[in-house]
């Protein structure tokens, strides 16, 4: 957990100073964090809820992004398709993770 907060601190510093050196250190720290600590997250890691929510969040962001950016707004079928893909993934994941 300490490495995680260290990474957050480095990110903060990187944005303040905008130096490539800091960004490189941050990237390495995050990579180290992901490889070791992410696997140890107890619940979310085991049934994969964290990646599920991240993926679904991405799909929803894409869906709503398309809806707001498109001149057709919410009538745009692309945005609805993204939303449905996110929803499908979430429902599948919820059912698949259940014992």
């Amino acid at each position: 957990m300490l490495r995680f907060w260290h990474a957050v601190l480095l990110l903060h510093q990187s944005f303040l100073r905008l130096r490539w050196r800091h960004l490189r250190v941050f990237a390495c720290t995050v990579a180290q964090f992901e490889m070791q600590d992410l696997r140890k997250l107890t619940y979310v890691g085991r049934i994969g809820l964290l990646p599920a929510v991240a993926l679904v969040g991405l799909f929803f962001a894409l869906g709503y992004g398309f809806a707001f950016l498109s001149p057709l707004s919410a009538a745009d079928p692309t945005s609805k398709l993204w939303l449905l893909l996110g929803l499908g993934l979430l429902i599948g994941w919820s059912n698949g993770a259940s014992p």
């Binding site: 929803f60 609805k80 398709l81 979430l90 599948g92 919820s94």
Partner: protein
Amino acid sequence: MIAQITPLVQAADRKTWLGAAASHVAGSILSASALGVVLGVIGLAISLDRTWPMAGLLFGFVLLVCAVRDAEITRWPRIYLRRQTPAWFPRVAGRIGGPFLWGLDLGQGWTTLISFSGYYALVLGAMLSAQPFQSALLLAAYGLGRGLPVLVAGLHSKPIDTASCSLLYFRHQAAIQQINAAALALTAGCFMNIW
């Protein structure tokens, strides 16, 4: 499935487990996509695409009903087959073929327990779209989601206790239901042009 396939990491080797998990995910996607194609063709056959504006509203309404059910504001019985996927698949089809058959079975969704009512909205949406390819894509996302937890559970460097995994799932089931309800309500809002 986590409890069935994940122990392979400990019992067999990592390569066997990876093959089993990958074939399970592949079977799940394949089966769900096939269901999507069938639903899309049914929608096309009964010309649901001609009445799409009304269908969109209906779909949004069903999404909301499912959101209310998952949020446990109201209760209505979920319809599904009261059976479990057969345990003998790996004995007949082997360590790779067995999980593939499990994937084919579970990817259909309706052949075993349905824990989240949003599945019904997905099926309706696939039919109402009346486009076999789009329906296949939608259900493929469901199949991918259905199979992926098995893959993720086995990625742990240390052996995991699948019994405690189940216990943790039940402990957090309410939160998962709320996430589902929120996602359903958000999608409903988009389809009903609320926002």
